[in-house]
Subunit: 366 residues, 4 copies
């Protein structure tokens, strides 16, 4: 990843801030001939769009994406695809307080320390708004995957909100789209609704854990060391703002296991190798096994809360700050479509990398 | 990161397998004029070297590093530095079993599925042996940091072995080098010694959690989105073999906090901003704050165990396998110097990136 | 360079086709705090703009650039700068002929062979229109150079049109902006006017040689082998459409010289080393000497001519084609501001690279 | 290209100086399963090896290449291939003069100005010795091409030595390996032998022009703008030391042509499109046409000559210098195998890039 670009061959460069005229992504390296029109992308953007229910920020953005280049007669041409989303709700307000004070937990102070200049009207590149462009780019990746590896299915969902986790015994894929939290557990969703409403009313916020499962990924994607599939997935998730931890398969809990408990035993199935378990999360030695790939990450609570916090001004004086405004009480919810998009991008990118090096030919088993 | 290279400007390309004549790293982009001789690197390699006590593999390697290029009269010249380590203990044995069977939890099967060819004599690039080259390269990064940012101090240590965690109340920096586990808690080290000895004798293995603290890192390193300092640290740690999870600051536990609990309040100290806590782990919006940077990661248990596991052969037949040989009962121990090396490389790389873009000039506070 | 991105640290990604709604460039890695408003860029774009006189295509484009991100209150923030130029003159016409036939000398046939899809309404990414985005990005590079290395002055000019060369004895910097050909020789400009008018009327076209001189570049930029300053300058120029050759200093003529004739002897001047001549073109061993850097390149004649040429259709049938439309009789003229922009980008990029690795400290002489 | 690495997917990182213990190249991204043993590479190295006749430097190097990693049982494994060549003829001598004085036309002065440190015993990375590692890496590329695109044939040859050019009417492929100058014209070779012997005896040197023809390259490799096949070929050639100009097809002479003269008319042949001529040099819009690809470049005369030249010392004092030692009177001769190697690397790299993006599927014609 360079400063604002990710991907080896399917390369996405994003640009724009929350308070400028527009944000966008340039998608380079997309295979030609992929069916792609704006409405293919809009569905994904609508999943992430703010203001859809009382659990997300009330900022209202149409998040309408425009394809400015790279397609012809509804198909990609192999040239860079520019995806632009205009900002429509840059509500004017008095920024005086934020302009002079650093909000604890925000990038305000580090931006200032690094660049010596800062657009104090919003979070700049660190704004959650930037993630809309990732979702648009991820939509292109999904369209390309549909053509190159039609069996791949990428699904994100919340597995914990604050201290409240889902019950894996109630896991139900069909529930995920049935509640505003992308919860695969109907009971958890009900509990979270009450819990989050309380937090919202008190002007507080809370963190969350999101899991993304990639089903149908072919074996053989990735590489043994720095180009590991899990390295790129980890970097992709960690690059999302407010993410503080990333796990593959067992994740941090792998530390607690013995070798016997951790080993996923192998047997021969009708369609190739099968595994007795999936502690590995679908990746061995940096390379996909063909099992479900499981990525999990934690999003910290929004720092924008109504309780006053101690801070300093640019001139170094002690003060307090309250962050009013339109914020998400659990910003992790809206991270779900973002994480799906990042996962789609990584999988496609590695599919192309693998096609380049091996031609997609596999060592046969059996 | 490309397949076998990491770093943006300070770029390390590693090569070699456990059963070839040598392994090595090419370090490109090092500043000129840095004092560097082989013995500067050897100390770090000795930390990682196997066979030093009964808790690590009994493979005996001198791990003697040779500098083949890039220095003159004891100083770096700014040209690529080749670091070569000869393999000396490639014990001949009967590989027949491993050649035909896939070891569960190893990269054997995915290597085969991806490349259709595999050096069955060892773990290839996925062998822990590869990490020696990272340690050597990290030694170069440390030498450069000594010159460019002399206050930076990078220290790794184990915080958990299996289910046994250290007690943070007993945390003592001086203990870390006093026990074979790099434990900052003397009591934990004693307990782990007994615990691991039992595992070793039974031919089992266990995972571990390693933490790296970077003290004295200047504020302003990193970037807001894909070039985040935490993105690169996460990728660096996840690229180490057997790592399944990475955390910055609060890590996965950040999901459990409320916004009030998570906010690190800011005050003005004598040498700049100070913080009431460090939930952020020293990084806000992808950019270092000047606080301690805290990275944590989990290493899974070695898959090489004496208990037979079910698996298949290349021809797809069901079988069982026992992995004999010289393996680490807790490979996480030897990951400590590797993680320090990776951290040093990332910090130096971002120092150079920041110097390029901003010239190192900072927005003043106060 | 990746497919649509150039630069190591100052990275420009361009997008857009001649017949879409807009084209643009994303400029990443720009230092913060550089004064930059749209009118700073517009001047450079106006130099390249078509339709300004009878010697260039009559396509009329305002080429008005919009800065959509990356600046705040008239200064760069260090985040990606999006430069968008709307296409305004996409004249509707009957493309039937071009849609089915491949124009000799155009990218039509190779686009088709590579991608299997092609926007036949224009040259796609191979259109000269793409170069407007380079000019805009080059304007950002110039603004940054003004701050970081204020002595750098980059000037392009035509030294040959077809078989008609300038007379170096009449070389006059002040003439360059006085004629529509950027000729440093007033007499040559007069002759070219007559010559080109004839070509234009007959529907023919001709090639040209452009030279760019970079004055005031500090010594020490570049690197010895693949990161040579001349490598990057050569790639930058060769990446401009229709360029077929690139030279540094003596260029191809260096082959004719003996070692005695080619050696630029060194003496000590008041401000450092001076040279008796500049056969090297300001670059020795890939690194700038502090002398004028001289780059030269040849642009082939536009393939769009009124004389019928033999070709084939997509179905492989023999046919003929005439390329009507609004084309430049000597497209090399408009390559001048493009080449200046590319040179500015390369110099700034190497200035940042050098600042990263060496801190800009130089080995002293004398 | 980064400082010491070239290639997008087939990535070569070279290291080492003329006066260290060894030089080498790490080849990353090679397809697995390619037959490769040391003797496959040695043949190419022997072509470049010095001391083979009186027309090249009398430095004696075995240039024996060792494969230290990345192959197993005579085939590539898909992991990095380390190619090491030991330096064997580092003749001890008194370097006092060179240590203090800058040789005109050498990188001595710019190295010093950039890095402030310099191994004065040789040319460092700018030594022609570095090119041996490119030749070794090019051998790997050729082996991979033999498997992926067996029809590709890459041949370099001298077309001019000083002012003496070959006669294209006498061009004979079979002559190239029959004389020490890789001349495709027997008569020219005879003339050059006499001419160069005179230069050698007088301690002088002269430049040369080398041409590389790539036959059998499939259509469709490359990309329209920055990833142009000609951009990468130009960069590859310009990265060779002492190169001052690069041409594709007509090259600089394209400037002299009219559109009518330059157009390569298209007809339909039995195996696809055919062209009436090849002014384009096999590349249109950055993408290969399937015709022969023609690259040409000029090598300046060696600066190491016996005639005294004026220069300065590190302390800035005026002096003179004679470069004694073992130097090539026409270093361009030994650039032939280097250029072939670079061409092989670029073609393979673009073959992999194309396979990644398009899967190698082509738009059909006819």
């Amino acid at each position: 990843m360079s400063l604002n670009t990710y991907g080896h061959l399917f390369r996405v460069t994003t640009w724009g801030e929350s308070h400028g005229p527009a944000i966008g992504a340039t998608v380079d390296g997309c295979p030609p001939g992929v069916a792609l029109i704006e409405s293919d992308l809009q569905g994904w953007l609508d999943k992430r769009k703010p203001g859809q229910n009382k659990y997300t920020t009330q900022r209202r953005e149409a998040d309408a994406v425009e394809i400015l280049s790279g397609t012809f007669e509804g198909k990609t041409t192999g040239t860079p695809i520019q995806l632009m989303i205009r900002n429509t709700d840059q509500r004017s307000k008095d920024y005086g307080d934020i302009a002079e004070k650093f909000r604890p937990g925000h990038a305000d102070i580090t931006y200032w320390q690094k660049y010596g200049i800062r657009d104090y009207r919003g979070g700049g590149r660190s704004s959650a708004r930037e993630t809309a462009t990732r979702v648009a780019a991820g939509g292109v990746a999904r369209a390309a995957l549909d053509r190159l590896a039609p069996g791949v299915k990428i699904t994100g969902y919340l597995v914990a909100m604050g201290e409240h986790e889902i019950d894996r015994n109630r896991f139900d894929w069909d529930q995920i789209e049935q509640n505003p939290f992308w919860a695969p557990d109907a009971q958890a969703a009900e509990n979270w609704a009450i819990y989050l409403d309380g937090l919202r009313k008190s002007g507080s916020s809370v963190g969350a854990i999101i899991e993304v499962t990639i089903r149908g990924c072919p074996a053989g994607l990735g590489a043994p060391v720095y180009g590991k599939l899990d390295t790129d997935l980890a970097a992709a998730m960690m690059s999302i703002n407010a993410v503080k931890g990333v796990e593959i398969g067992e994740g941090m809990a792998a530390a607690r296991l013995t070798g016997e408990a951790n080993a996923d035993e192998i047997s021969m199935g009708e369609n190739g190798p099968e595994y007795s378990s999936n502690h590995a999360g679908g990746i061995l030695g940096g390379i996909s096994t063909g099992q479900d790939i499981i990525v999990r990450f934690a999003v910290k609570p929004t720092s924008s809360i109504l309780t006053p916090r101690k801070t300093i001004t640019k001139s170094g004086e002690a003060t307090e700050i309250i962050t009013k405004g339109r914020h998400d009480p659990c910003v992790g919810i809206r991270a779900v479509p973002v994480a799906e998009a990042m996962a789609a991008t990584v999988i496609l990118d590695h599919l192309l990398l693998d096609r380049a090096q091996t031609g997609g030919t596999r060592g046969a088993i059996g």
